[in-house]
Symmetry: C2
Subunit: 217 residues, 2 copies
DNA sequence: ACGATATTGAACAGGTTGTTCATTATTGTT
DNA sequence: AACAATAATGAACAACCTGTTCAATATCGT
């Protein structure tokens, strides 16, 4: 059973076509099983055996699709992130329209607020993925994704280095770390404040000092 | 071979007395071996076998002292942190004296600067412990230690919640996250700036916005 | 020198991983 | 409906790692 035969997308290059229904079914079952297990126990304690038992999938089938447990989690995480990005782009589009039409600010949703809200809606999963039992590389990947969004946004409005100003990258790293740090703390303490409240504090502490009078989003 | 017999400090309660020379020797060998290995490969890839081979210690001896690999790393980390704390307290004491005698500011070393400098001196070890291959729980323990220092410091000078001000804990979490984030980025990029420079940016981005006109340390 | 205690090393069971392969089931396509 | 292609199965397997046990030995503190 060749690797390239069954799943070029995940184990190989990038020729993505979602051919066979069996392939989609198997991968969906495996990811669903992983998600279930993530809500039950720490990722470290989940074995491949657990996953294939839950998914009702043969052992050899698992390895025909994924290199190992980490590979499955990585694919799963990327799927989640893609969904998030899609939703996020929709929000941004709505915001732009609202801005053009001159709607009041309350209707608009800032990017960071959306992230806090999304984490609130899926807090059990967020906790499992980036909480205290989360894998370091997943947390880093999460932070990197957010950092990238921030970098793109800031590069447009940041005047660049001048005098003793910090380089863009320093700025972005600091802001992103603060954001993730607050987010994890918030999740680990079971959301003691509203998403709006946390987001507001984040902006006061990490965003406004940098942007000054510039408006967010 | 009872657990309590050989090492009450590490496997049991807190009756610490460093009795037998053999015990100190073994634990020292194991920690030294772990340190060596940490500089060679990722912690995940290090096996108990690797450690005892490097340390020239029997397998059963290892388990007479530590519950598992994680327990050894935890003990090792705590030893490092204790050393750091000791040095740090010395610096703070010097600073206080310099302040009383009215020495110029250049002689004083802020707490965060000392951390950046310490990381610079031991950057290979820092990278192994909190870098991209670091274990999540170690990174968290590191951050928690720093957060605790910050919390103690801030609780003395922070006026407390008033109006829409963020609670002390939010503030501390944000600052600590920013600090660790910058530190890790700095380490992972092989120290592209001086410790003083990074520390200065950290203060501008995360400390000054909070403290305002208050003087550091 | 002596009793107490730590170390040794081999052996062991139990668990997990990733692979193999012949057989069976399902798919997409005429 | 029939066909060839291909995915899934499940059992078996070697390899590895973990943590434990125990009798023999070495080293310690006093």
């Amino acid at each position: 059973m060749e690797v390239s035969t069954q799943n070029p997308t995940l184990k190989n290059g990038d020729e993505n076509k979602l051919k066979d229904r069996r392939i989609r079914r198997t991968q969906q079952l495996l990811m669903a099983a992983l998600e279930e297990l993530l809500l039950e126990k720490a990722y470290t304690d989940i074995t491949v055996q657990d996953i294939i038992d839950r998914a009702n999938v043969g052992r050899s089938t698992f390895y025909a699709h994924f290199l190992d447990k980490d590979h499955l989690l990585k694919s799963y995480f990327e799927k989640l992130r893609d969904k998030f990005d899609e939703q996020f782009q929709r929000i941004r589009h709505k915001n732009r329209q609202a801005q053009l039409k001159g709607y009041p600010d309350e209707i608009r949703v800032e990017g960071t607020l959306f992230l806090f809200q999304h984490a609130q809606s899926n807090h059990r999963l967020y906790k499992a993925l980036i909480g205290k039992d989360g894998e370091a590389w997943v947390i880093r990947q999460f932070q990197d994704s957010f950092t990238e969004l921030l970098r793109q946004h800031m590069s447009q409005i940041w005047p660049g280095e001048q005098g003793g100003e910090a380089p863009l990258e320093i700025l972005v790293q600091s802001m992103a770390s603060s954001m993730i740090g607050l987010l994890v703390w918030w999740l680990e303490h079971d959301l003691p404040y509203s998403a709006e409240q946390i987001n507001q504090w984040f902006h006061r502490l990490a965003v406004q000092p940098v942007l000054g009078e510039l408006s967010p989003d």
